[in-house]
């Protein structure tokens, strides 16, 4: 219950906490999350973590992430934890996992790939977990996850 205590200390009443983000990747996660509304956002960087050494964390008031946002975050912070808070209580806690099939979230780094020539959805398959690698279903090139760009 230490996690719950920590969240209460940081006083977010309703919203989402993205914890255990790989240290240094919080900026990339923020680029994915749609933050149009004027909600409170708290960011912690390089915090100590028993689980992953150093971590980043984001807490967003009154925000529930879409499935696309969750999938995109999993790509750049595959060890992250997604916590939903209601009335200061943790109502759900999910460990993010890279999906087997990643539809239209990644830009293929291969300039000769059809997905960069025509207006079509990209599709990648997860080929290895550690370190994570994905293969484009069209040009069949394989890339480490950190080399791919997330679609805006």
């Amino acid at each position: 219950m230490e996690q719950v205590k920590q969240i209460k200390v940081n006083a977010i009443k309703n919203g989402t906490v993205i914890d255990h983000i790989t240290a240094g990747r919080v900026q990339k996660v923020l680029e994915i999350v749609n933050l149009d509304s004027p909600e409170t956002v708290m960011i912690g960087m390089n915090l100590h973590s028993n689980k992953i050494g150093k971590k980043d964390i984001i807490k967003i008031e009154n925000k529930v992430l879409s499935q696309d946002e969750v999938n995109s975050i999993a790509l750049i912070a595959p060890k992250a934890t997604l916590i939903i808070i209601k009335d200061f209580e943790v109502v759900s806690k999910d460990y993010l996992e890279l999906p087997e099939k990643i539809s239209n979230l990644i830009v293929c780094p291969n300039p000769k790939c059809i997905t960069n020539e025509e207006i079509i959805n990209s599709e990648f398959r997860l080929t290895e977990d550690t370190p994570p690698q994905v293969r484009c279903s069209y040009c069949e090139k394989k890339y480490p996850i950190e080399e791919v760009k997330i679609k805006k």
Binding site: C113, I114, E117, I120, C136, S137, Y138, C139, E140, K142
Partner: protein, 300 residues
């Protein structure tokens, strides 16, 4: 099998079935009749050999072809999308056979149209019909695809033919010898794939003296332009040119294969030996493509 896009899509059983049908077509045990069937050959990138081979395959089965070569006479120049071009062509034809410099183009085409699509080469990615005709040539000359020792020589870095062949042969329990200059070695991702499948391979600098235990020696061209200077090319080219004297002591069943066109990487004195197999290999391409088309059109 609805389309033929990538060797990755084929199981070992599907490959062996295709080899079996190609063999039966060659020996006349199966005579597919494709009368009134039309194949659209869309070659967005020039290729005389592959295009002729498909054209021949269709005509040998009483079928016919419509051919588009290059993009200059098409609507692509007028701004029509690739998808619209494909959907229109699909209204005219029973099967689309396409080559494109764009990687993944054939996969995309197969999602857009209702007729079967055959990938006749998509950039540096796949050329599955070449891989299949190579497998057919190997099974025909060796009687099996299992437990063979195969040498791949030349430009192993950029040659999609050797990549597809290595990956396809990895489904069978083979051993490889790779002969190439150090900067044209087999890419790491292919070597990783082979290691994952416990396929043994050795990387060597010279063909000479290293081919006595091979069942197949597959030679490919090294392009001069890949080298930093013409002098660098001259220094190493001799190591990758096969001549008749180098064949002394090879196994009697050994065959020399080449995807063609050849430049000077196989000396012409090899042509008259019992080991030369590159021209029959090209002929096998027709039987293999007849089998592929017949399967996709449900005619066998």
């Amino acid at each position: 099998m609805k389309n033929l896009i990538s060797m990755r899509d084929l199981s070992k059983d599907e490959i062996l079935n295709l080899m079996d049908i190609a063999g039966k077509i060659e020996t006349g045990k199966i005579i597919p009749d494709l009368q009134r069937k039309l194949a659209a050959l869309l070659f967005f990138e020039p290729s005389t050999r592959t295009m002729f081979s498909f054209d021949t395959a269709m005509k040998r089965m009483n079928g016919d072809t419509i051919i588009m070569s290059g993009t200059k006479n098409t609507s692509a120049k007028k701004g029509e999308t690739f998808a619209d071009t494909l959907q229109t062509i699909a209204q005219y034809s029973d099967i689309i056979i396409m080559r494109s410099p764009i990687e993944g183009a054939a996969r995309y085409a197969s999602e857009v149209v209702d007729v079967p699509v055959v990938n006749a080469g998509d950039g540096a990615n796949q050329h599955p019909t070449q891989a299949l005709l190579d497998l057919y040539s190997i099974i025909k000359t060796q009687g099996t695809l299992e437990n063979l020792k195969i040498g791949l020589a030349g430009d192993l870095r950029f040659g999609r033919t050797v990549h597809s062949l290595a990956q396809a042969m990895a489904l069978f329990n083979v051993e490889f010898k790779f002969f190439s200059p150090s900067f044209l070695q087999m890419p790491q991702y292919i070597k990783d794939d082979l290691s994952t499948k416990n396929i043994k391979f050795e990387e060597l600098k010279d063909i000479e003296g290293n081919i006595d235990d091979l069942d197949i020696l597959y030679v490919t061209r090294i392009q001069k332009e890949r080298f930093a200077s013409p002098e660098d090319y001259e220094k190493v080219k001799g190591s990758y040119i096969l001549n008749k004297s180098m064949l002394d002591g090879v196994k009697t069943n050994m065959k020399v294969m080449h995807p063609l066109p050849r430049v000077d990487e196989i000396a012409t004195d090899v042509d008259d030996t019992e080991y030369a197999y590159y021209f029959p290999q090209a002929k096998n391409g027709v039987f293999t493509r007849q089998a592929i088309i017949s399967i996709l059109l449900g005619e066998v």
